[in-house]
């Protein structure tokens, strides 16, 4: 390290640290201080049978969802990791879709497919005309099904990647020593897959544990409520901030404990595999016709499962009922309503689109700049793990809790619309920051230090080499980070619903309200637009990712 980069480091962090402190540390610490750290409220909550039931259900639904999501994801992971077949790349890409989708779209698609007057029941009634219908909504089953759909791609991707990078030599050695393929799998492959399976299971569990839209729409009521929904209900409806703050601490204690347990088990599991020689990847197997049939038995339902809800949303946006209970007919009404300008006033849906895009752009710029500044610093310092950890820390806090923290902060000042908007931007920035940081830091790390030395030795100073060499080279990761941040902000529901000022409606909020009043068709039109935003973002990232590797 020369003296230049020493002074060049410090000041660049002022901005990001200020934002991190104001937008994350302040609200979260006010949640902590709100309860006065007094265990009394917490004990009261834990000792009430109602809240014990809530905690129990939170674990139960997350556990069941994780179990089924992993079971559903493993065969696909095996296919991606081991087999060569037509559609492998497609499975990999399509498998990512549910995971990046905003949860409100998952909920909407689920209602369209499984609702009492949805696709499945309509088909059922076509076959058996006086069928009672399959009542699935508003049950634990519905919650678990939606969660499985939403989260099995995690196993598909994470375990699939691990499977494809298994070392070749150890496996071949064990086979040549006479082990059967099954035995070789359990003694050689499985221990190496275990960390990936564990990781995907824990990530799935955390997502379901903190799930919001799925629970509040498909469950709901005191019978089917979780910690996250309960924190929301107390905050939003009862204007009680210390009760939810206590629940937030309970919830966060659980999530932190789970993350720590994961870290500990993960490192133990990995230690056993340390002696692996640098992996020479095993080749993908070509498959027989028999296996091809088995694969399509898995793939077809998976594609149907993923695509039907999405296609339903798009189809429904072009339908309408003559009356509330009338027959369905093709119609452009909802799109016309959406684009309709009445005396210079845009429709609520159109306004929500503009606001979502503006909010998303501000969030994207904000989080990408901060991520870039911090990554620029951490990639050239050796002991920057603290900064690394700080940047990723917001992942461990749920959006509802973040929103609650902001409410506690602005409770004491007169909250004008402007302050509420700033809070919303701050919350979204913090939600996007860990992802943006990971992406940008990953991009900057790939730049060889030699390139920088070359730039320096030809006379460029730190700033100049940053602007002329690093920035252009990191451009792709910066764009990816910005697109990803925008997408996250555009799909975010729970913090927005708590923080957005009156009459400031984002797309997910509008869809949530339309589902609430069962204005399914208008919700679908807006949902179709959100799908487009996500597909464009997803394709952009997918392509950039491709040209990157």
């Amino acid at each position: 390290m020369n003296s230049k980069s020493k002074w060049g480091g410090g000041w660049i962090l002022i901005g990001p640290i200020l934002i991190w402190g104001l937008a994350f540390a302040l609200p979260i610490s006010s949640v902590l201080t709100k309860t006065g750290m007094v265990p009394k409220t917490m004990m009261q909550l834990i000792s009430s049978p109602y809240y014990r039931g809530i905690i129990g259900l939170t674990f139960k639904q997350a556990g069941l969802s994780t179990l089924f999501a992993v079971i559903l994801g493993l065969p696909g992971a095996y296919m991606i990791g081991r087999l060569k077949f037509p559609g492998r790349r497609l499975l990999k890409s399509i498998g990512t879709i549910p995971f990046v989708l905003p949860s409100i779209l998952v909920v909407l698609g689920f209602i369209l497919v499984f609702g009492n007057s949805g696709l499945v029941n309509s088909l059922l009634r076509l076959i058996v005309s006086d069928a009672d219908g399959w009542k699935i909504l508003y049950s634990l089953r519905a919650i678990v099904m939606a969660h499985v759909f939403y989260n099995f791609p995690i196993t598909l991707r994470v375990v699939g990647n691990a499977w494809s990078s298994l070392p070749r030599n150890t496996y071949l050695a064990s086979r040549s020593l006479g082990a059967s393929p099954i035995r070789a799998f359990f003694s050689v492959d499985f221990p190496r897959l275990a960390p990936a399976i564990l990781n995907s299971a824990v990530i799935t569990f955390l997502y379901c544990f903190l799930s919001f839209a799925v629970i509040i729409v498909l469950g709901g009521g005191p019978q089917l409520s979780t910690l996250e929904v309960e924190i929301f209900r107390l905050t939003k409806y009862q204007f009680d901030l210390s009760g939810p703050a206590a629940l937030a601490i309970i919830e966060t204690t659980f999530t932190v404990a789970i993350i720590l347990a994961l870290g500990w088990t993960d490192s133990r599991l990995r230690r056993r595999n340390l002696d692996d020689s640098p992996a020479v990847r095993r080749e993908l197997e070509r498959i027989s016709t028999g296996k091809l049939i088995a694969i399509s038995l898995y793939l077809l339902p998976i594609f149907v499962l993923i695509l039907t809800p999405l296609l339903s949303i798009i189809c429904y946006s072009f339908l309408a009922r003559s009356t509330r209970a009338g027959t369905l007919a093709l119609s452009l009404n909802h799109w016309r309503d959406l684009l309709h300008v009445n005396g210079g006033i845009l429709s609520v849906s159109m306004l929500s689109i503009i606001r979502t895009m503006l909010l998303g752009s501000i969030v994207a710029i904000n989080s990408t700049i901060n991520a870039a500044l911090v990554s620029w610093y951490t990639t050239r310092k050796k002991r920057a793990w603290i900064l690394d950890a700080l940047m990723v820390l917001p992942l461990g806090v749920s959006s509802i809790i973040l929103g609650l923290g902001y409410l506690i902060v602005i409770e004491r000042i007169p909250h004008t619309t402007m302050i509420r908007l700033m809070a919303l931007i701050g919350a979204h920035t913090i939600i996007a920051l860990p992802f943006a940081y990971r992406i940008v830091a990953g991009g900057l790390k790939t730049i060889s230090p030699r390139v920088l030395q070359a730039a320096r030795s030809s006379g460029a100073n730190t700033v100049k080499s940053f602007l002329t060499v690093e920035l252009p080279m990191a451009k792709q990761s910066l764009i990816t980070a910005a697109v990803f941040s925008l997408a996250l902000s555009a799909g975010e529901l729970s913090a927005s619903i708590i923080l957005a000022p009156n009459s400031f409606t984002t797309i997910p909020m509008a869809i949530y309200r339309m589902i609430g009043t069962y204005n399914i068709f208008a919700a679908s039109a807006l949902g179709a637009i959100l799908i487009c935003i996500f597909l464009i973002g997803f394709l952009a990232i997918d392509r950039i990712g491709d040209s990157h590797t």
Partner: protein, 337 residues
């Protein structure tokens, strides 16, 4: 850094017109706290506010954080920012009066209101419409509607009723009070029996009622006047309100002037405006409730409204009392897993 800040400011300045103009510039506007469906584009609020602006030149700004319970909670917290509150019903009456956040207003128009609707003799809360809670049903899905609260627990109705959460919804609270009025201290036993009938419990009325009209559920808690909507706007008599032999609870919605307002005269004008024939009609047609003023004529569709043979009084419970909190706690415990 500097450049990004400037860019940031620019973005902000550019976005300003697209963001809602709100609490910052309320001078000269009458700030009205109300529940969300009152002030939404489809609710009665916007039409009444527009007519009021035209007649008096006074603009209304609605602040609608959610249900009436939420609205009252927020008003108690920041009363200095409101001039009027609209939408408090019988169950919230004692709580609003105890919080001492309202000023009395003896409008001369009260002479035209039947005394049975005047729930607050101190005239701090002035009634503007009323209705009866009732279980509404889809006559195409349900051939024999329930005839009493007890009948509702019958196996024939398993998994078919949508209720609302009494912690977040006034009809939900109304239904809980209804069961207390009928069953007294034995209401928790009744709810245990009712549990198998409940399909789901929603946060608010509109979420719950739409489950009925979209065919997701054959029964939902609503009002005796709800069928009027379907007759008036859809010309169908498919949705009906079931008459219960236990009798029905009468909900009266009221409004009041917030204590310490600097716009007392304007607030009085608006209260009188809410009671004129124009507004009373809009309230009836839009809220689908019955007008409290005697001189309002209603269309024939209102014949579809339930005329309960028996009306039962609200159980006397202060909603902020410890007793009330205990009831809510008991209620949630019935649903503990």
């Amino acid at each position: 850094m500097k450049r990004t800040h400037i860019l940031f400011l620019f973005l902000f300045a550019f976005c300003q017109p697209l963001f809602p103009r709100g609490d910052g510039d309320v001078a000269g506007k009458l700030v009205v706290y109300t529940y969300d469906s009152f002030s939404s584009e489809w609710g009665p609020g916007s039409a009444i506010a527009a007519a009021f602006l035209e007649e008096t030149g006074i603009a209304i700004e609605f602040n609608a954080p959610g249900d009436a319970i939420t609205t009252l909670n927020q008003l108690i917290r920041d009363k200095s920012r409101a001039d009027l509150i609209i939408g408090l019903d019988n169950s919230l009456l004692s709580r609003a009066l105890d919080a001492d956040i309202l000023e009395p207003y003896e409008t001369p128009l009260l002479e035209l209101v039947s005394p049975e609707y005047v729930i607050d003799k101190s005239n701090r809360l002035i009634p503007y419409d009323y209705g009866y809670f009732a279980i509404c049903y889809d006559s195409q899905l349900l051939e024999t509607p329930p005839t009493s609260l007890e009948n509702l627990t019958s196996k024939a109705y398993a998994q078919s009723l949508v209720l609302m959460d009494p912690r977040t919804s006034t009809p939900g609270l109304g239904f809980l009070l209804w069961t207390i009025a009928v069953y007294g201290d034995r209401w928790p036993d009744y709810w245990e029996r009712l549990k198998p009938t409940i399909l789901t419990i929603t946060n608010g009325w509109s979420q719950g009622y739409t489950l009925l009209v979209t065919g997701e559920a054959p029964m939902a808690l609503s009002y005796g006047t709800s069928p009027v909507y379907h007759v008036e706007y859809e010309g169908n008599t498919r949705y009906k309100a079931a008459e219960f032999s236990d009798g029905h609870l009468m909900q009266i919605e009221s409004m009041g002037i917030v204590k310490g307002t600097e716009m007392r005269r304007e607030a009085e004008l608006f209260i009188d405006f809410m009671l004129n024939e124009f507004s009373q009609k809009i309230l009836a047609m839009n809220n689908i409730m019955l007008p409290v003023m005697k001189n309002v004529s209603l269309p024939a569709s209102f014949d579809a409204a339930l005329q309960p043979g028996k009306i039962i009084p609200y159980p006397s419970l202060a909603t902020n009392s410890e007793e009330f909190q205990r009831i809510i706690d008991n209620w949630t415990e019935i649903f503990s897993q």
